[in-house]
């Protein structure tokens, strides 16, 4: 059974600081997604990582994937208040039966002025 673990689960940081959220998973896969969820809202796709060594950047967020270590990171640079949200990583099982996302528990990020 695939397990996806994120840490930290809660992160409070000051504006302007940098931090990294980690996503570890237990089974071979080379397809990983990062989503953002605002309170009471649905999930917004941030990054799609489809191969070992993939790195994607959008604004102050950068995501990477190391399939050999079964690890993805979401790095936040110079945080701003608007980044406050819950961030989920989701791993797609590497199988022949089609897409099946398994989500982490989420990291609740609060950026304080």
């Amino acid at each position: 059974e695939l397990k996806v673990e994120q840490n930290p689960l809660f992160l409070s940081m000051q504006e302007g600081k940098n931090y990294t959220i980690y996503c570890n998973y237990s089974t071979t896969s080379d397809r990983l997604y990062w989503y953002r969820q605002d309170p009471g809202k649905s999930l917004e796709s941030l990054f799609v990582l489809l191969s070992n060594g993939a790195v994607k950047q959008e604004g102050r967020l950068m995501a990477s994937l190391d399939t050999k270590a079964r690890l993805s990171t979401l790095h936040i640079t110079a945080a701003v208040h608007d980044l406050s949200a819950t961030y989920f990583c989701a791993v797609d099982l590497d199988g022949t039966s089609g897409s099946r996302l398994t989500f982490g528990e989420g990291t609740q990020l609060t950026v304080n002025p």
């Binding site: 989503y35 989920f88 089609g98 897409s99 996302l101 989500f103």
Partner: protein, 112 residues
Amino acid sequence: EAGVVQSPRYKIIEKKQPVAFWCNPISGHNTLYWYRQNLGQGPELLIRYENEEAVDDSQLPKDRFSAERLKGVDSTLKIQPAELGDSAVYLCASSLVWREQFFGPGTRLTVL
């Protein structure tokens, strides 16, 4: 382009009552998913459709949950009878085969 549409957005029912949720996926997306998201957790897959065929329903509690996607487009998820533990957000998502999933706004269910 319209996103995934779900209705209703909110539903409050008494336990043992039936409830149904509706989803209209993004046009052209042949794969449709239903997820349940409990408070403070990530979504969990309930069922996945490829066109009108349910190809992954291993996590669907079949004693009380049912789903259908008769024409390979819209889908309905039903719970009968609802239990207190069914209170959650029910999310619908759609994608092309093996591609990125796009999520709808969800239906927040409260069972009293």
